[in-house]
């Protein structure tokens, strides 16, 4: 596993989506080829478990294939796919918690070396921060990690997350709050104020 740029452009997905909605299997296969790295990345960030992430990817695309006929196209295909992936990953994480009693270390993805191949535009300092962030995310309890990943990495709204996970909006907010706090604690002083502005809240991100 290594980091990379997106292998293929996301453009020109629409004709493939339209064809797949009509039952065109080769078109759907091409959609899988163009999006599976993104889907795998999301699945791995959510599950923090490589084998589970692979299972989630397969299950998510099966669900997408079965449901693409009813995909209305009022959202981007990738957004729709993310939601399916998030839902599938959440189910997997819950099931794993019930049936497995793995030590925490076994649930963690291969660390550091997987992230060494950073994108060229990343500075060494930024790359190091992202590595630490990735590692800290994997240490979050699954229920909190899902919220932080979906909200802060993928930019989904509280409402969208609550709907996909089958929880209330207020529960989503509480878990996000706890997740951020826990993540901050895990990072200790790794995230020093650095180049960040030290102004009041009116300058918030």
């Amino acid at each position: 596993m290594s980091t990379s740029e997106l292998p293929q452009a996301r453009s020109a997905l629409e004709p493939l989506v339209d064809a797949a909605r009509e039952g065109d299997r080769p078109a759907f296969d091409e959609l899988v080829r163009r999006t599976y790295v993104e889907t795998y990345t999301l699945a791995l960030r959510l599950t923090a478990h490589e084998e589970d992430a692979r299972d989630v990817v397969q299950e998510a695309y099966l669900r997408a294939w079965r449901g693409i006929g009813s995909f209305r196209g009022d959202a981007q295909f990738t957004t729709w796919l993310y939601r399916i992936t998030a839902n599938t990953a959440y189910t997997t994480v819950k099931r794993r918690r019930r049936h497995r009693a793995e030590p925490l270390d076994a649930m963690l993805v291969e660390p550091a070396e997987a992230h060494l191949e950073a994108q060229p535009e990343e500075s060494a300092q930024q790359s190091a921060l992202l590595d630490r962030l990735s590692a800290a995310l994997e240490q979050l309890p699954p229920k909190l990690r899902v919220l932080v990943v979906l909200k802060d990495v993928y930019g989904m709204s509280h409402e969208e997350i609550a709907e996909e996970l089958g929880i209330s909006v207020s529960a989503a907010k509480v878990r996000l709050h706890r997740g951020r706090k826990k993540l901050r604690d895990l990072l200790h002083d790794d995230v020093g104020p650095g180049e960040g502005r030290t102004g009041g809240l009116e300058h918030a991100v």
């Binding site: 791995l44 709050h177 995230v191 960040g196 030290t198 009041g200 918030a204």
Partner: protein, 122 residues
Amino acid sequence: MQCEDVARILPEAVDHGAAVEISVQRHIDTCLRCQAELARYRKMLRGLQLLRTRYLEPAPGLLAQTLAAIEVAGEREARRAILNGRRLAYAGALGGAAVAAGAAATVVIVHRSRRRAVPVAG
């Protein structure tokens, strides 16, 4: 307002557009420790946003396995659809045969009852 009070709400307050009490804002404006902590949260959120485009390459084989799984599921569903179609056809044929048999039986019964009802001449 104490730094500990501010620390408790920072994970939520750091969101863009989050409403915070004036007392919290005033405290942060005058407290270097809380300003530094707020900056750490901002940096953490910026880093999380950057992870969005940091793709993780799966081990080889995932694409082939995924396409194969879809293929198998597609075939299974196609077989199921064919079987369902055949079942419908069988059911339709059986139903048609039953209706035809019923109609034939009715004709025979009606015919016999008419023959019995014909009065004997002479």
